[in-house]
Amino acid sequence: MKSVWRQPLFLLGFGIISFFLVGSFVYEWIFGNVPKQTFFIEENGRAVEGPPISPKWMHPLGTDQFGYDMFGKIMIGAKYTILAAMAVAALRMLIAIPLGFALGTYLQRQRSWINGLIDPIHYVPMTIFAVILLTPVLWMPQEGFSTTLTERLVIQVVIMAIMTVPIVAALIGNETNLLYHQEYILAARTLGASRRRLIIRHLFPQMREKMLVLYGQQVVESLIVFAHLGMLQLFLGGTDVDYDPMFADPPRSISYEWAGLFGNSFRYLQGAPWLPLGPAISFALVILAIAAMIEGYTRATNGQVTLPKRKRMAFVSEETVDWNQQQLREKMILLQKEARR
């Protein structure tokens, strides 16, 4: 197998993601978790520009309406958004993979009607579904949250993961079922391999690459849903709503995660386009990076499968192996005859 580390596309994507992730932690470590605030810019002793300040050398992405540096906000928020998306995708895959394998092997008979039940989910747009499910969790009620920030984060990640588990599971199930009818699986079955063994030794190694690619796609999908939720004022880890009837602050995001940065600022597009564009471009960059990693990975592993290391088995005599081979040959001949009839 060619190494993925020799693929320029993979390296590029990996570089961008690690820039955001490592950069996020380093930034917070150096500058603290409040970005730099500038109230106005002076030139020759006169204030020439007040916040929101347009992009300059000092503020590469400008500042927001309160003078906070956008670049700092984006860097601080990066880790929440990226890690949450990765967690959602990972949890989703963890649940969907066993279900998918079960669907493709143990539940073959029931597969068609299970698929029929899952199919209508395709008509429910993901974002709307997420909004309906997450509003009771993330929107602060009048009397304040009854849950802590961590609880809300965990609940959000779990709900978003479970939301599309059926679809991913059906996808894996269909793929497994396709593989299940291949000849080498048939050979293994005639030798008496149990379904469990088939899954572990044959199907899983064969599917591993596809599942990694699927994982990447799920991360992208979760990032996009985060961005959409941000537009609907449902931020990662909850929305802090001010119920003051007179001078209510706009809904606030609790951390500086990107969904909140984007959702709070897209109304300023005409006056201060750098406000929504900064987070939107960061979203796009991370998604592009993941796409590049997927492409590099598929190029590196094209068509190659790595088997798990063979467990050291108890001593098997030559005779047993010979006997096995003979059995296989006979049964294959039998099968062939049957197929001809």
Binding site: G116, L117, D119, P120, I121, H122, Y123, V124, P125, M126, T127, I128, F129, V131, I132, L133, T135, P136, V137, S146, T147, I155, I159, V220, L223, I224, A227, H228, M231, L232, F262, F266, L269, Q270, P273, P276, L277, A280, I281, F283, A284, I287, L288, I290, A291, A292, E295
Partner: protein, 295 residues
């Protein structure tokens, strides 16, 4: 006859699953308090069914101002919203399909090396988030207006007017790229089959084979795989309505968030799309069978 029965079973199953989903928020609210609200869940679903039964009387709270509230009937206002949304959706779908197919034809006529580059380019273009595309489109219009004073299109709907081409453009770009990549894959798979080689060896031109043979066979599998694009488009439409302030059904639902409205909204998309896909499936399978191949 059997087909119709199967179709109605499918339809009922779909309706049933969407109904089950519409009550899910109650379960989550209960889960937050550490309780399992089964009875409430069933109650909510019953409520949704009854309110669907007398749809005409469905109404939402409407703030008149100063904390006053009035009950405003949903229909016929919602019907207008639904038509607007569906118009946008299907206009975008048609343009996306047309442009994707034209793009596929042009790329298929290119040489291998150029083709690979075009494909990589579109692969990366596909991963742009929709919010960025809409933002850039709006910004572009604003910049043009500032520079030249020409308003190419309105970037938000105010009052009763309707805008079409800019939202349709924003909505079609990503599905178009997805469909393009999908049809490229199937076209290329089809290109490697025996009958294409035979046609080539008989001396037919590239464009002729592409149009008369490959296209006809590939379009079937493109159709069956396009469901996912449709799903993706629905999410996009939601964001689009929000960012353009379009008075569509999704914006309406978001402004009056309730389980019943969720159900109505989903059904209003589900019905036309489901019918479209059923008809398409029926047509393609019919055609396949007439050719002697059992689909």
């Amino acid at each position: 006859m059997k087909r119709i029965l199967l179709w109605s079973i499918q339809f009922l199953a779909a309706f049933f699953s969407i109904l089950l989903l519409s009550g899910a928020p109650v379960l989550i609210t209960g889960f937050q308090q550490g309780k399992l609200l089964w009875n409430e869940y069933i109650e909510t679903i019953k409520l949704h069914v009854t309110s669907l039964m007398n749809l005409r009387e469905l109404s939402v709270d409407y703030y008149v101002g100063r904390g006053e509230m009035r009950q405003v009937p949903v229909f016929p206002q919602l019907l207008e919203n639904i038509t607007y949304s569906l118009q946008l959706l299907f206009l975008a779908l048609v343009t996306a399909v047309v442009f994707a197919l034209i793009g596929t034809f042009i790329t298929m006529l290119l040489r291998e090396k150029a083709r690979a580059r075009v494909k990589l380019f579109f692969y990366f273009l596909e991963s742009l988030p929709d919010i960025l595309i809409i933002l850039l489109a709006q910004l572009f219009v604003v910049i043009i207006f500032q520079q030249t004073g020409i308003l190419v299109s309105k970037i938000a709907v105010i009052g009763d007017d309707r805008i079409y081409w800019l939202p349709v453009l924003c909505l079609m770009i990503l599905p178009m790229i997805q469909l393009y990549r999908l049809s490229m894959l199937t076209f290329e798979a089809e290109e490697r089959t025996m009958y294409v080689e035979l046609a080539k060896s008989l001396g037919f031109g590239k464009a002729f084979i592409l149009f008369m043979h490959i296209f006809r066979n590939a379009i079937v599998s493109v159709f069956f795989q396009s469901k996912k694009t449709m799903w993706f488009m629905l999410s996009n439409l939601f964001i689009l309505e929000l960012m353009f302030n379009i008075p569509g059904v999704m914006l309406y639902m978001f402004e009056n968030l309730s389980g019943t409205l969720f159900l109505v909204t989903i059904m209003s998309f589900f019905l036309p799309i489901f019918i479209l896909y059923s008809l398409g499936e029926w047509y393609f399978i019919h055609r396949l069978k007439r050719g002697g191949v059992v689909g």
